[in-house]
């Protein structure tokens, strides 16, 4: 236990990623998947679960080898560990959920360069024990999944009038096709961030 610099309480480790440091809404890191796969809830949920899986596995592995890591090879080891688990995840999706794998396409392998996972490896797993790393991974992954599902839910309802295949809008509702296009992703996320800042009275992004 040479360098356990990061030691929050267990409850803190679990909850910090869900709201106070939510990767998508608060820290604005790893923004590609939330914008790209949030056209509907199902792919968004698959993406969220994949990220949780990769995050838990890589956090556990990195945490268990934290005492033998050399500083200058650190990032390299992180990326290789993450790449291994992403490969497992991608092959699993391709074998058991081929339709979902087609929709998500290159965004599953792109989890490798997702800043959230490298950030948690650097800030938490390489500095703390297995239990804290595990809770932290679950918390951060859940925060990411919740964020991406909120975004996908709003976009799916407005773009098609359906939510996970069930009709939720009245018959007269005219679908907003723009919500399915890239512009919908950017503007929705911008409005969510702005509104949450207006409601909570905090705006971390303000210069």
């Amino acid at each position: 236990m040479a360098n356990d610099a990061y030691q929050p309480s267990l409850l803190d480790a679990l909850t910090v990623g869900i709201w106070r440091e939510n990767p998508t809404f608060r820290l604005l890191i790893g923004m590609c998947p939330p914008l790209a796969v949030s056209t509907a809830v199902k792919p968004a949920l698959t993406m969220g679960l994949s990220v949780i899986f990769v995050l838990i596995c890589s956090n556990l592995v990195i945490s268990s080898m934290r005492n033998i890591l050399k500083p200058h090879l650190r990032i390299m080891m992180f990326t290789l560990t993450i790449a291994t688990f992403v490969t497992i995840c991608d092959l699993y999706l391709r074998a058991f959920l081929p339709d979902m794998s087609k929709i998500l396409g290159p965004y599953v392998p792109l989890i490798i360069v997702n800043c959230i996972i490298i950030f948690r490896a650097e800030a938490c797993a390489s500095k703390s024990g297995l239990l804290v790393s595990l809770l932290d991974a679950i918390g951060t992954g859940t925060g990411f999944t919740i964020a991406i599902c909120i975004l996908a839910g709003i976009r799916e309802i407005l773009a098609t009038g359906n939510l996970i295949g069930y009709r939720v809008m009245p018959e007269a509702f005219v679908p907003w096709l723009a919500m399915q296009m890239p512009v919908g992703a950017f503007v929705t996320l911008g409005l969510i961030l702005g509104l949450s800042a207006a409601l909570t009275g905090k705006n971390k992004g303000a210069a």
Partner: protein, 196 residues
């Protein structure tokens, strides 16, 4: 003439029509984070273009001459990320040794580029599209980098002016940047469908 056509169409398609930032959401982090001033944005864009071309070409070669003949496709992502990290390291050492002036301009961005989605994205898309000749792979990866450079420069220009605008307090910073990016995407949608 045929080769000239490939180059022209490839660059046009990657820069304007299938711009990675506007249609594939790749490279959003530096796009929102770094793009505050045009000159730094330009340096970043050029560095990305260079590394993207290099790693796009290298991954294509490794894919077709090492992985595919030996049926090692399962290690593809690990190989890609190693090649990119290696290429970035190589470029950094080379530039620092031979072009110190250039290193001062965009040297600080080089380590960041290893985890830029545009680079890995272009390698993956070249693989998914099933590009099977080297020229197209080189042209597409250069085009992807140039497209990123264009997007980040436009955004930096808008943000330089946005500083003077009177934005509601809750929307300052990231929210207004995202909405601006959305409107910019709308403008680039005009190019959609020009080439397949």
């Amino acid at each position: 003439m045929d080769k000239f056509y490939v180059i022209l169409v490839g660059i046009m398609s990657m820069v304007l029509i299938n711009n990675f930032v506007f249609t594939k959401f790749l490279g959003i982090c530096p796009y929102l984070g770094v793009s505050g001033r045009i000159d730094t944005a330009f340096g970043m864009g050029m560095a990305v273009t260079f590394v993207a071309t290099l790693s796009g070409t290298l991954t294509w070669l490794v894919d077709h001459y090492i992985l595919m003949p030996n049926h090692l496709e399962i290690t593809r992502y690990i190989c890609y990320i190693l090649i990119i990290a290696g290429a970035v390291q190589l470029v950094e050492m080379y530039v620092r040794r031979f072009f110190p002036a250039l290193y001062d301009t965009f040297g600080v961005f080089l380590p960041l580029i290893a985890t830029n989605c545009v680079i890995l994205g272009v390698c993956l898309f070249i693989n998914i599209w099933g590009i099977d000749n080297l020229l197209e792979a080189v042209v597409l990866s250069a085009g992807a980098g140039l497209g990123f450079a264009l997007a980040i420069c436009i955004m930096a220009g808008i943000r330089e002016d946005l500083v003077l605008a009177d934005v509601p307090e809750a929307f300052q910073g990231a929210p207004i940047t995202l909405i601006t990016a959305g409107i910019l995407t709308l403008a680039f949608m005009g190019f959609a469908g020009m080439i397949k």
